[in-house]
Symmetry: C2
Subunit: 348 residues, 2 copies
């Protein structure tokens, strides 16, 4: 069975398990996940026994040429209204929508039409990767990892952060990536101390920290990794911080396994950095799920409640940021397995 | 005065005009427009006399290094809750949020906290471009227009749509663009007949239609243009369709002027194509605003109510699509002026 047809079947099973008659969706991400057709401006209804996508006339032929396991409908009016009409027509009494996937305007219209709120159905399907999507994600990560080996030797005194941004992007695209998976971060010197630094025209000087946080989209799947190193002769402080982060990440990776709580991975990383005396400089969570989105379920931080499952793909990325001086973050994308994890962004 | 400080002042004036005490925002786009700081995970409150941005600790130093005209606050909890607490603390009774800018979860929280719904405040500010942003948008469009002259000679029999996608992207990036402004469309042969075709590995054959719908992001501003031509010796039908679209676009451009209704521009394009006998094949609206987003206020179609104003930037893009054969769309980005429009994506 086609992977998308299978996902719809899985969703239909979840509807039954949750006592729902249908799920109504308006966001491209969920509709794309269920159909393989990632275009804006559609709405979708999945009942226990059927699936319909409502779309503007101009997309209809295109959709039909690609998807044959759901019914495509091009109504005259708004797609949301058409979806609601279908729910009414089929008397799907317990129809729901996912609050976290909706805009305020659309979600409000659906709530007012009597749809129920139920989060986490498609999110749970998306979190556990299976079949061909694992291979696609592996390739996305492999492209990113390879790019590090190619681009690092080109990072020389005098080059700008933006020029390295472009080198990373071009290198990954030459290997088949569609583009970067987010606003890549290239930080030199003190810029490396800002976790969300906006890559700039700043030039690299001798003896400075370098931080590259990047990844690509390949076949709609996002990779994410960070490498930090010192350009020149590292100071004692840099060496100390770098080894603390490296050991912290190692401790986190060692913790990842199906059945482990997401926040226990965070704790493993965080405890190590706290013990090294840098606790107050680790100012973000340890990681997040990756997939069709660069940030998705689950989060790995101090508060998020989730248990890792085999097939989940997450990042492990502790960091220490000394404002005005430098920052170090080490991040890999990994696939959770029954016995541990497969590091997808391994570099030499 | 700094352009961002001015925008906040303009918004404060609008609050007064609309009898509101404050606007509360949670989306990066609006906060970025008002502060110049485009990072996710913040919330903002603008009252008639003050402005506050709430952000996680890890962004604080970065924000402060760039923005000195609003008060940045990094609370422990969620940013939305912190924004609501500020509204309460300052007794801002008539505080509103913009439904169209919000997610369902955030908007619902704000509605439940008693905030009013008021759309179109920041949208109206964003629609009319002024000062340096016009120059940035001009440059974004100029980069796109220049890329056509550079890439077109490289489009040869046997090359794939995706290879041309990459050529366009690389060429625009070499001129300073950050990246493409949307999923660029390169369509060869029958693929050109799908308005939202997903660029593929399909190779160009002799004597086929070519359609390039593309643009870039430069300094956060999006350009958008489409060129259609025949690779080889055009058929009589292609020639007829192409000249109908070209004349339709010309008629639309001639209509654009401050004070004209957006839908009159659509009518000018649509009437021409209908008169030529292709009315049923023009299956989308005539255009849309461009700026920080690739699609923003206003829309140029049969139903959208808006009057063009000097400083608005919109696209004019009629098309005719003959399914299974070919499609032709011709699109330019233009700046509305008092007496007509400035075509920003002019090519030779």
């Amino acid at each position: 069975m086609n992977i998308h047809a299978k996902r719809i079947k899985d969703l239909q099973y979840m509807l039954k398990q949750n006592g729902l008659d249908a799920l109504v969706m308006g966001r491209t991400l969920e509709i794309g996940f269920l159909t393989g057709f990632h275009l804006d401006g559609c709405a979708m209804v999945v009942s226990r026994s059927g699936a319909w996508v409502f779309m503007p006339k101009m997309l209809l032929e295109h959709f039909r040429s690609k998807v044959d396991f759901v019914t495509a409908v091009a109504p005259a009016g708004a797609m949301e209204a058409a979806a609601l009409a279908r729910v009414k027509e089929l008397k799907l009494k317990r129809a729901a929508f996912e609050p976290e996937a909706e805009t305020y305007v659309r979600g409000t219209a659906w709530r007012k039409a009597g749809l129920l709120e139920k989060d986490g159905l498609t999110g749970a399907l998306r979190a556990v990767k299976e079949g061909e999507e694992i291979e696609v994600l592996r390739k996305s990560c492999r492209i990113a990892a390879k790019a590090f080996g190619i681009v690092k030797p080109r990072i020389k005194t005098g080059c700008t952060e933006l020029s390295i941004y472009r080198e990373l992007e071009d290198t990954m695209q030459a290997m088949g990536a569609k583009g970067p998976s987010f606003n890549l971060i290239v930080g030199f010197g003190p810029n490396s101390a800002m976790p969300h630094h906006e890559t700039s025209e700043r030039k690299l000087k001798n003896n400075e920290a370098v931080l590259l946080d990047y990844g690509c989209v390949y076949g709609n799947y996002c990779s994410d990794m960070t490498r930090s190193y010192f350009h020149g002769k590292p100071t004692e402080e840099y060496k100390k911080v770098h080894s603390a982060v490296a050991a912290s990440q190692k401790a986190g990776l060692a913790k990842v396994r199906a059945g482990v709580k997401a926040r226990d991975v965070d704790a493993a990383c965080r405890n190590y950095i706290s013990d090294a005396g840098y606790g107050q400089y680790f100012i973000h969570g340890t990681g997040h799920g990756i997939g069709l989105e660069i940030h998705e379920f689950p989060r790995l931080n101090t508060t998020f409640e989730a248990v890792l499952r085999a097939g989940m793909a997450v990042t492990v990325e502790p960091g220490i940021y000394l404002h005005g001086k430098f920052g170090v973050r080490i991040e890999d994308s990994v696939l959770v397995t029954k016995t541990g994890c497969e590091i997808l962004t391994k570099t030499a």
